[in-house]
């Protein structure tokens, strides 16, 4: 039988996006979900403050958005699938944000991935 879930703190460098984080990050994720539409991406770029205010981001979330800080956004409830739509606005793919989160250069991050296959 499947075992009960253990606390997410068990896995280093890993956040389990559960109900608690889904509540914390709802406004932030809702804004990022809106970036599926090109018109919304454009509206964000034209007036970032107004766009964040429209979705009701709190001060911590607004700050993490301003800094384009993926780990910071995760800490305030951001889910990576929605955050990818935010970072996509700036042409950042999952290897770019992987490098950012691990404090590596993109080239070093790619080399690490390649090394996992050997």
């Amino acid at each position: 039988m499947a075992t009960a879930q253990k606390p997410s703190q068990d896995i280093p460098g890993t956040v389990i996006f559960d109900g608690k984080l889904a509540i914390r990050g709802y406004a932030l994720n809702k804004m990022c979900y809106s970036f599926n539409e090109a018109a919304n991406r454009k509206a964000f770029l034209e007036n970032e403050d107004a766009y964040c205010a429209k979705f009701g981001l709190d001060a911590e979330q607004r700050d993490a958005i301003r800094r384009r800080d993926v780990l910071g956004l995760i800490a305030v409830g951001g889910n990576v699938y929605y955050l990818a739509k935010f970072t996509g606005i700036f042409g950042l793919n999952v290897q770019d944000i992987g490098a950012q989160q691990t404090g590596m250069s993109v080239e070093a991050f790619k080399a690490k991935l390649k090394a996992a296959g050997s």
């Binding site: 879930q5 280093p12 996006f17 559960d18 889904a22 970036f35 991935l113």
Partner: protein, 280 residues
């Protein structure tokens, strides 16, 4: 009666869709990945299935956190792709088969799997990339599709055991469909990868290779893992292995591996491919 002729598991990384759009499949980076697919395409050209049941997870195109079903089944005449926000070209709609969809919905709900039915359902890269890999020429693609979305976004996720049992219910539903059609069941996603957190870039080759074997010969063993253990061993997104378990559950006949392929890395991911024949 409908026949389940086989099952396929394949990764669905968006970067694959971008490589296809750019036509860079033969570049040094991509060639070792795309080289895995011709045997599966040849098998599909020979078997000519009428239906592809797509077991996948939506990444925030059709579903948001306002209403997020654990299991959702498409029941639409066609499934539209749309902009996911980061640059993949939008592809033409995929034909569905509402009559078959409702048969499956009625059958699995009767078997106590209380799914969400969707008469409109946008399909994201987890649906479109595998189809582009398996049927690269859309003009020759005759297969209709039946999308089944599994929640891998917001925990709690369905347990691996529950997913395997859901697959078995889908298999029974398909087998009881009165029309004479051939069905292939395709599980997408995986293998090990993690996009978020300080552990981003995590890949576990040893675990993946074990899974590629166990999915064929001992899928029940994989249902002993908890979701938390899968996250630990395969990464936060490697948990998409549950889509493969749904696929495997649907194959209730004599299962034989016809082809497999494994390549590290594609973007942040260890890419896996399996072709399974399901004989009566």
């Amino acid at each position: 009666m409908a026949r389940i002729v086989g099952g396929i598991c394949t990764s669905h990384i968006p970067a694959i869709g971008a490589a296809i759009a750019r036509g860079t499949q033969n570049d040094a980076y991509w060639q070792p990945f795309f080289a895995g697919y011709p045997p599966v395409r040849e098998w599909l050209a020979e078997v000519k299935p009428d239906i592809a049941v797509m077991i996948y997870n939506d990444h925030g195109l059709n579903f948001f956190l306002d209403k997020l079903p654990t299991f959702a089944i498409g029941a639409a005449p066609e499934y539209r792709n749309a902009d996911e926000g980061w640059g993949l070209p939008t592809l033409a709609p995929y034909p569905g088969d509402p009559q078959l969809s409702w048969h499956v919905i009625e059958s699995v709900v009767a078997a106590e799997f209380d799914v969400t039915s969707c008469q409109e359902m946008l399909v994201d890269h987890a649906f479109t990339v595998p189809l582009a890999l398996l049927w690269p020429d859309r003009s020759q693609m005759r297969v209709k599709t039946l999308p089944i979305a599994i929640n891998t976004v917001q925990h709690p996720l369905p347990t691996p055991l529950r997913c395997y049992k859901f697959g078995a219910a889908i298999g029974r539903a398909l087998a009881s469909y009165p029309k004479d059609i051939d069905v292939v069941v395709i599980g997408t996603g995986g293998l090990s990868h993690q996009l978020d957190g300080q552990r981003a870039g995590f890949i576990n080759k040893e675990f993946d290779l074990m899974c590629l074997d166990a999915i064929v010969s001992d899928p029940r063993a994989l249902t002993n893992y908890s979701i938390h253990e899968l996250v630990e061993l395969a990464g936060t997104q490697g948990v998409e292995l549950i889509n493969w378990l749904v696929m495997r559950g649907a194959l209730t006949g004599k299962v034989t591996k016809l082809h497999s392929h494994y390549h590290i890395p594609v973007s942040n991911t260890a890419a896996g491919l399996l072709l399974l024949e399901n004989a009566a």
